[in-house]
Symmetry: C2
Subunit: 438 residues, 2 copies
């Protein structure tokens, strides 16, 4: 049993039994918190939708009541902070941002309860009725940076989905995180749910991250929310399943049968609406048949809005003043007003390019030809593929999921936007009336 | 990009782009095969259901044609084999077992195509239509022991679900595996699908296993099929997502409101029908209120069929000649005619016992009281929970999945029986008519 639990680095290892975990997970402070979270998770698994929603409403009101305390705590964090201005802005709370956190929790409470949803059901000839039912994951660990409000969002999504959560925020935001946490625990108390449902790292000790990543069998899922360095470290070191948002190297492919006006509109939006989000298009692929007429217009649209370019030789042949791209450019997620451009012969060359450089996040094709669209959609391994739409629609809100904790770029469990439904797993319930197996 | 791929030990790391994998995955023989498998997987992703079924039918007929060669190869393996008799039997093929392999492939061909199934769909106010579509995983690595027929089953399930597969069979069965593999490749040729869809380790070198476990970004999923040692090693070392069958420490709980005759029938079947399968009950939990009358009958039923016992003090108090259990007994998956017995006060004490000792595989409750059954089902973290049925129903065939490659005991992706549907993942397809994001 121990071994099976020690083997939890695998995403599908057996989840821990309480008995084993105490033994396997050592005595690190995070392991102790995780053990308490696991007990809380068992209570939560028996809780009602209305109890969990009540906790969210009460936490929202506690956040409003505690607004002054939260801002005072945040001021302490800011006073001690010495880093970049951009980072300082993300660290900074004000009355509006606290109110937004509270409204965020209320919006999560208003979502349908994902727990207990019957995902599938069928009956067997022997009379057994089998149903696949959505259940909480158990204990989720969220490791995030800078923005203290991520803690409130993550706690809200986990409470709604019946999970206990361990929060490890950035060391710069330790006082803000504590103040927010106090309000959320107040909400849990009002609803009669265990305070241990939401716990935070006791201090800014960096060791806590390593302890969480090693807490196989105690923590069922780790969600890293932050920069590439954090996500890659978590993916490399975790011995616990990880729901990670790696990279969004998204492509928009304009097929020869695309409507030119639609293609111009989509590319401009996909690249420039917000250049810093993971769903922003980083590379434009355009068919040689349509490029001579259309590419100059697209370049003009984008240049006018402040975009620069890295173009392959064929694109430079059409728009001579485009800077030449290196292969490294095509592998770069710019998150900036920079667009890679490559001219391709057809959908298969576009798929080859995406297979070579893509990150399996989101790709789009613009075409009026359905057969080509289907070939494109079947040919990418990406979590999300758009047909005649902007890649910037890859977003939990735009998908109708309500709040999201991030975009998952892996092959399994959740892919794409991660909302409350994606924070559940399932079990099979087999309902009989005494059946035995022949 | 490299980093993100190197981080693939995480279950949710971004899958590899072809370009990157060549760089990240080194030059091991298995990595070279996996690279070829990835190319084959891209062709398979564009293949039709009828092409894949044609390959399965042709492979079945090629197995029959090659029956003599396969048995000759198997004879070479047996001649070189020096291990236990039980293992030798599992290694041994005969004409019937070859025919069973062929029929198995035909049965898989007859299953509905899981690829392209629309799992969910909805429309957004802006007119975008979003659908969640089942897609192949990509490249699956199967590491198995002894039984050469596992290779044929695994290849069949992967072909049906549109996946390429790398097979690493036991070193004792290397000649048998080669002969079976030749027949499957013949089937792929007949259907015009890439031979690289199904590949085997070039020889018995044990290094190939480590190379597969390290092939992050090249192999999308590893499935270990074998003993606890293999599974635990894979879970410990894999830097690739793993779909593992850990342990089946299954419990049957008899609640005070159980029908005694039903309870006796279910316990006898759950323990003794086949003692060596993972769905066999290892521990009986019985309410104190019903135990004095019922436990002696259950013990008599089981003893008569050759079962022995490990009982807690309260059970010994009711049936004095029961041997006393140690805590270690309750944590032991016997896979034998041995039953742990514990008397509990109520469903919550039963849930505590299962949380402490269980492996989250399959549990059963026998009760006529629905509220108690619901509390029990919500209170276990197990992949499968039975109400008034034998735990031995945890089986792909009994679930109606057709062939299965194993039972998954993890928290994510597939839980319980793993058939062709469980060898798919999904993507979101977002269908627009030019939408851009505001």
């Amino acid at each position: 049993m121990q071994g099976a639990h020690a083997g939890q680095g695998a995403p599908a290892g057996a989840p821990a039994a309480d008995g084993a975990t105490g033994e396997t997970a050592g005595e690190s402070p995070m392991a102790v918190l995780a053990g308490r979270a696991r007990k809380a998770a068992r209570t939560l698994a028996q809780s009602s939708s209305s109890e969990r929603d009540k906790a969210l409403w009460a936490a929202a009101s506690a956040l409003r009541t505690a607004s002054a305390d939260i801002l005072a705590a945040n001021a302490r964090d800011l006073a001690a902070y010495t880093g970049s201005e951009a980072f300082r802005d993300r660290l900074t709370l004000d009355a509006e941002r606290v109110e937004a956190m509270a409204r965020g929790l209320e919006a999560i409470a208003d979502l349908p309860d994902p727990v207990g949803q019957v995902l599938d059901e069928w009956s067997r000839p022997n009379g057994l009725h089998i149903r696949r039912v959505a259940t909480p994951v158990g204990v989720i660990g969220v490791i995030y940076e800078s923005r203290p409000n991520v803690g409130a969002d993550a706690a809200g999504l986990c409470i709604k989905s019946g999970n206990a959560v361990l929060l490890r925020g950035g060391s710069e935001s330790v006082h803000s995180t504590r103040a927010i946490h106090a309000a959320i625990q107040a909400g849990l108390r009002v609803a009669g749910l265990p305070e241990d449902t939401v716990q935070i790292a006791p201090d800014a000790d960096r060791r806590h991250v390593a302890d969480m990543l090693a807490a196989a069998g105690l923590i069922d899922l780790i969600i890293p929310r932050g920069g590439r360095g954090l996500v890659e470290r978590v993916q490399r070191e975790a011995r616990v399943p990880v729901l990670a948002h790696a990279e969004g190297l998204c492509h928009t492919y304009i097929h020869a049968d695309a409507d030119p006006a639609m293609a111009r509109r989509i590319v401009l939006n996909a690249k420039m609406r917000r250049v810093g989000i993971c769903g922003a298009t980083e590379t434009l692929l355009i068919d040689a048949a349509i490029a001579p007429g259309l590419l100059p217009q697209i370049v003009a649209d984008l240049a006018e809005s402040g975009c620069t370019f890295r173009a392959d030789a064929r694109a430079v042949g059409i728009v001579p003043d485009l800077p030449a791209a290196t292969p490294k450019d095509f592998a770069t997620e710019w998150l900036d007003a920079v667009l890679n451009v490559a001219v391709v012969d057809d959908v298969d060359e576009a798929l080859d390019h995406i297979a070579r450089y893509g990150s399996s996040h989101t790709e789009a094709i613009v075409t009026a030809d359905e057969a080509t669209a289907i070939r494109f959609m079947n040919g990418v391994s990406s979590a999300v593929v758009m047909w005649n739409a902007s890649t910037q629609f890859c977003d939990g809100g735009e998908f109708g999921f309500g709040a999201e904790i991030g975009i998952a770029t892996g092959r399994f469990h959740a892919r794409g936007p991660v909302g409350v439904e994606q924070l559940t797993t399932f079990r099979y319930e087999v309902l009989g009336n005494g059946q035995i197996r022949a």
